[in-house]
Symmetry: C2
Amino acid sequence: MENYVPFLVSHWRTVGLISVSIAAGVALGQLNQTHERAANKSQRVHTNSSIKAKQVKRESAIEQINEIEDDDEQSLEDQDVLPILFQYEKPSEADSIRRSEEFYRRMNQRRSVREISSDPVALEVIENIIKTGGTSPSGAHTEPWTFVVVSNLEMKQQIRQIIEAEEEINYKQRMGDVWVQDLQPVGTTWVKEYLTEAPWLILIFKQVHGFKRNGQKKIHYYNEISVSIATGFLLAAIQEAGLVTVTTTPLNCGPSIRVLLGRPVNEKLLLLLPVGYPKVGATVPDFKRKPLHDIMVHYQ
Amino acid sequence: MENYVPFLVSHWRTVGLISVSIAAGVALGQLNQTHERAANKSQRVHTNSSIKAKQVKRESAIEQINEIEDDDEQSLEDQDVLPILFQYEKPSEADSIRRSEEFYRRMNQRRSVREISSDPVALEVIENIIKTGGTSPSGAHTEPWTFVVVSNLEMKQQIRQIIEAEEEINYKQRMGDVWVQDLQPVGTTWVKEYLTEAPWLILIFKQVHGFKRNGQKKIHYYNEISVSIATGFLLAAIQEAGLVTVTTTPLNCGPSIRVLLGRPVNEKLLLLLPVGYPKVGATVPDFKRKPLHDIMVHYQ
């Protein structure tokens, strides 16, 4: 993602350094070189100076370095951030329409499902799902996410215990005795069976900051937005794999679960997804989605 | 999404009402009825009391209503939120692995591209992309998003003007005269050509609150997380359609752009995506993504 303003605030020295370097490169007279993409297709030409010059002409230096992973000044030497050709095959318009329509249909079948079967799901599928989450864009290419996947039953039980204890307190405090008694026939409503029944729990942590090489904190701008966008990719991947989940936000339990899982203090629990196949006969509430004209406004 | 705590705080009356209704239903003795999914497959049986009873047994009432669209008490009568069978075909394990692998490969080809061609893109593709964004889960099923799509050149020019003016101020204030002069050969670095060259701009607004029927504000919990997750689905859809974009966060320009587009005050600009085909020969920085072992931790 591009961070229009905060990036400049904190990175002005780096921006300056890179800017001067680029300006020097441009001054070498590479400005008018052109480049034929076809000749270099499927070739990763890191050292092609004509591409670099073109890149400099077309893009601003600020945009260009907005995806640098590390704002250490040293990182410029160590990291290979030269421009490369974007690998791409342009589809026909008919293909674009068909593919976008098919993807919409597949995603539109997704529902939040709480009745998750304990049938096993292969680790390979979970790994593909996490890898897909990791393809998301992020502010300044910080990739500020940690996906903790839990298949260990004892660990799942401890997570369930933490969440249900919190839920029970809230439930009893907020609802009052009358409601609690009335609900006795229904069962304990703070029970979250899916937390132990689902073969996998995916706990999504946002890294609120990283670390520079000198040990100082490195701020991760927009880390919550970045990790939430990555969760969108991850949920799409769960749907593509034919699995189900329910997106939950156990925020008050975050610190306890973080300690339980041994995650560092710069990581905060954002979302928890129980993942598996649905139980046979699973039901969902009969909610409708807003129609297109309620969510889209077109200035034509 | 499930909102474990805040939901209860604000919805206790609704929760109570529904809880009592459900408890009454359970008391009618439907608890032990069972239901064969196969018999009812592909049938939307809203009035099947056995499904309702099963739903009550398996799920907590609180979870069940966490996706209700409107927290008006009246909404219970007007809205059809009875449980229905989840429509689902279980894939083989081999299919799950193959599909998750293929989706990962397609998403892993996505890159943020700033060199966007002015070639037209069919409205139908954009509509499918927006519809896909609208399939995302959201806190209490509030669907707190508005996608403004702009193809009008004059409007794109005005948006570009607002963003570039802000960028120029930041640029000149932060960088100092030396850097600005050094960058003259490169061109004005606050220029965002893609804002007018791309055939479409998608401006993603979060609705920070909605309105109840009596005109009072209805808080949208987790609206930023919900809209960011929806953006993940939307970016995946852009990739599936064979289009490109760059995810930008023009936060300081939000109020001006909101007024320009005539959006109400409860909507805040979260992200702006220029969408189109890449220019021929477009380049991207040679960044790598973190490997799986850096983003995933497995408790087995």
